[in-house]
Structure formats: C-alpha cells, structure tokens
C-alpha cells in the first residue's frame, strides 16, 4: 500500500511550498538545495541528494513520515520514456 495519511499530506504540501518559494526567490535558503522533510517540518537542507537522503533517514527512520524535494526544480517538466512496456 502506498504511504497515506495526514503526515504524508502535510509533508507533500510543505514540499510544494518549499519548491514554490525557491522557484520564486533565488535568494531563498532552499533555492537549488535538496530539502528533506519529516513529520511536517523541514529537517534537512543539503547540497546533494545522497546527503539529503542519509540525513533524512537518520532523523526519521520511518520512511512513511519523510519526504524529499529538489527545490527550484520544475516538476511539471515531462520526461520521455521511449522504452517498450
């Protein structure tokens, strides 16, 4: 079962806000950073993906309570998959 519940929704909404802020304001502390969220709060701001994931797992071992976002990224971009199914 995919992760569901109020914590997932809080994390998802905070990630959306963090990315929106970073995309609007290049001076945001989140701009171009990898941001880790746990239990509805930002807990990690890292320069690279590996560090963000490692620290996020240290802070909150339960993966269903965590969320990660690459701030400033355009998540509406469509990525083509040419492969067969």
């Amino acid at each position: 079962m995919p992760y569901t519940g109020p914590i997932v929704e809080r994390n998802r909404e905070l990630a959306r806000q963090v990315n929106e802020e970073a995309r609007k304001n290049p001076n945001s502390p989140y701009a171009n950073k990898f941001v880790g969220i746990a239990n509805g709060q930002v807990v990690v701001v890292a320069d690279d993906f590996d560090t963000m994931v490692r620290r996020l797992r240290e802070v909150e071992p339960d993966p269903s309570k965590t969320f990660g976002v690459e701030a400033s990224r355009d998540y509406t971009e469509v990525h083509e998959i040419w492969g067969l199914r």
Partner: protein, 132 residues
C-alpha cells in the same frame, strides 16, 4: 577497472541491482532492462520499478515526476538504496514507482543510471555490462 556482465534476457540488455528488503534486511536482486531511451541524463530519476517494490524496500517519498511516452502522467517517486556489489556501488537513487513493468523484467534502468558507468557488451554480443 571493475566490470560486471549479465546475459541478455529475452534478447535485451539486462542489469541486476540489489535492493534491501525492509522486512529482515535481506538483499533482493532485481533484473532491469537497460534502456538508454528511458529519460535523459538530467531527468532526475535513475530507475523505474514496480511501486510495491519501492515500498517493500522502505523507499523515502520524493516529489512526483511527470512522464510521457511509454508511461504517461504523474508518478510517485522514491529514494531507494541500490547496490551493485561487483562494482562497489552503493548509493540512494531516485526511483519512479509504476504499476506495470516490461514483461520479463522487474523494471527499467534508465539512461541517467547507465550513464554513470561505461556500458555495453564489451565484445560479447550475448551479454551486457557495466564498468566503472
């Protein structure tokens, strides 16, 4: 330089990655079709797996990504620890969770994953491999 080769599967290039099951921490090998046409180098994702596999391995949720082509729409995305023991590779990767994967495989190794290595048949047309 370390190199690992796998036999073609269903006539297609295959790579085998090792995940870790949340229950018991056992290693779990998944065979993926190596597909340089899956995403671009800067797409921000490395593998496509059955979403249930992402959950079995305690993937951390990431912001969803939007795909087009063979998969269309917004898809859940996870950070998963992935190993290639023969190459000493052990890193968290960005993995897209889907509900159906190519027949005969557990998922897709995308271009941004393959392109971290030297890849190809290394002179053996019956196999596909990675070198780093």
């Amino acid at each position: 330089m370390p190199r690992v080769l796998w036999p073609l599967r269903r006539g297609r290039p295959c790579v085998e990655v090792v995940l870790t099951l949340a229950a018991g921490g056992q290693p779990w090998t998944r065979g993926l079709v190596a597909d340089t046409g899956a995403g671009a180098n800067n797409s921000g994702f490395h593998l496509i797996l059955d979403e249930n596999d992402c959950l079995r391995c305690s993937g951390n949720l990431l912001q969803p990504l939007t795909l087009g082509g063979a998969y269309t729409g917004s898809f859940p995305t996870y950070a998963l620890s992935v190993r290639l023991p023969a190459l000493g590779f052990d890193r968290p990767l960005t993995v897209i969770g889907v509900t159906s994967v190519p027949v005969g495989f557990h998922g897709i190794a995308c271009f941004s994953f393959l392109n971290q290595f030297t890849y190809g048949n290394f002179g053996d047309p019956g196999r596909f491999g990675l070198e780093c």
